[in-house]
Amino acid sequence: MNIYEKMMSIDRRILFLLIALSVIIPLLKPLLLPVYVTKEVRNLYGFIDNLNPGDVAFLSLDYDPSTMAECHPMALGILRHCFRKGIKVIVTSLARPEGLGTAEMALTQASQEYQKKNGEDYVFLGYKPVPGAVLLAMGENFRLAFPNDFYGTSIDSIPMMEGLKNYEDIKIVVTVSGSAVIDSWVIYAGGRYGVPIGAGVTAVMATDYYKYLQSGQLVGLLGGLKGAAEYEKLIQYPDMATKGMDGQNMAHLLIVFFIIIGNIGYFLGKKAKASKGIGG
């Protein structure tokens, strides 16, 4: 086996180990690499930052544990931003029932950090299936889709919901999504009722949603852990996403290095074979 063949046939378990080390070492010894803020993240931050205390934002935490690593830091960042600004928040979780636990976890953590009270500063409406129908019903009246909140309290007896009827009383909807529920938000809440929509999505979904930015259907977009880290930078609250970015960068550099090595091995190996063939 020549050097080129060796380059092409490195045991994949060695690669996995190197990738793991490239993530673990920067977590233990942070490199503090800079995080650049992109326009789409800054736009969402700016929109929320320009709201007044007492305004109401709607945050739909449409992710479950499988995408928590990327979506949870986004949810926490947006909740912290809203609570710090005194913005009231209505929260739902419409993707899957499994998302209820993660949504409540984010809401509990952020509300405790800023001493916000359920029913006065935020409301958690919970989950209901068939997102399209739920979003259309909320366009008429939140009470049609959610007569009670997640804890079983009637919406009409929740102080914060007094005077809040539908999207007209909401300044922005932000969906943090690990699923295609974001399309429903854009189509129904944004398209039909004209409410501004912001989104945070997993990186694997991000390219599918840039089209909504260009068409003005989204006011801003957070893509993956990088988007969450950018938001943490803007709200000056570095947390898990920021800490993870060093590992993210190192792993990417390593993967790029592997791709280069693999391609060099492939092309030089092919060339070597061709020249042997000519020689024989």
């Binding site: 793991a20 209820l100 399209g132 189509i187 991000a206 390219t207 993956g224 898990m240 993870g244 990417h252």
Partner: protein
């Protein structure tokens, strides 16, 4: 270093390690974790749907508050179970037909507006040769048109059509490349999330 004393954290940590053990090779620990997650997810789903949807939003309003209109979704829901009785499975089609009909009625106009008309509008951009934005708009229009040409199959891709389609495939490939890059980022993020959990919540090395 402050190792967790929570049994839940220890179980989660070991299950994480069981799942990643698959990277070495398939093994019984991985299989156990795989089966457990499927069973747990199913159980969690059923319990949540019962306590969050069926009981408070259907059974209580229907049988305790007398909201009789809910009898229709209850009947349609029960029809779905007819799929498991071969001689009556046709009844489930009524419920499926109703669901499809309502879904189409609700979604077709809105989807046309939000996903087609709005996207076409977003391509109708002012073109100019004296500004950066004007050039970029031209580039977007050029990319959209050549990409669409690639999907025109009613004529052989040769001559002008062939060149346009070849340029179009370059745009499409660049799009796929960006998606692949983001996919790598996503997968690494999941790894980072798990390692952060192990080092922070379980081993207490990070804070």
């Amino acid at each position: 270093m402050h190792i967790s004393s929570s049994i839940g954290i220890w179980i989660a940590a070991f299950l994480t390690l069981f799942v990643y053990s698959f990277l070495y090779k398939d093994n019984p620990f991985y299989k156990f974790a795989e089966h457990l997650v499927i069973g747990l997810a199913g159980g969690y789903y059923i319990v949540t749907v019962w306590f969050q949807i069926i009981y408070p939003k259907l059974l209580v309003p229907l049988f305790q508050q007398g909201n009789l209109i809910l009898i229709f979704p209850l009947i349609l829901g029960l029809f779905m179970w007819a799929r498991y009785i071969p001689q009556y499975s046709w009844i489930s089609r009524w419920a499926i037909a109703f669901y499809l009909g309502v879904s189409c009625g609700l979604s077709i106009p809105s989807v046309m507006q939000a996903m087609i008309i709005k996207q076409i509008q977003a391509t109708m951009l002012p073109v100019g040769f004296h500004s950066y934005i004007g050039w970029m708009n031209l580039f977007i229009i050029f990319g959209v048109l050549t990409s669409l040409v690639y999907f025109y199959f009613s004529a052989e891709h040769k001559g002008f059509l062939g060149v346009s389609a070849k340029i179009g495939i370059w745009f499409i490939m660049i799009g796929f490349g960006a998606t692949f890059g983001y996919t790598v980022m996503s997968r690494i993020s999941l790894l980072i999330g798990r390692i952060q959990f192990l080092l922070t919540d379980w081993l207490g090395i990070l804070h």
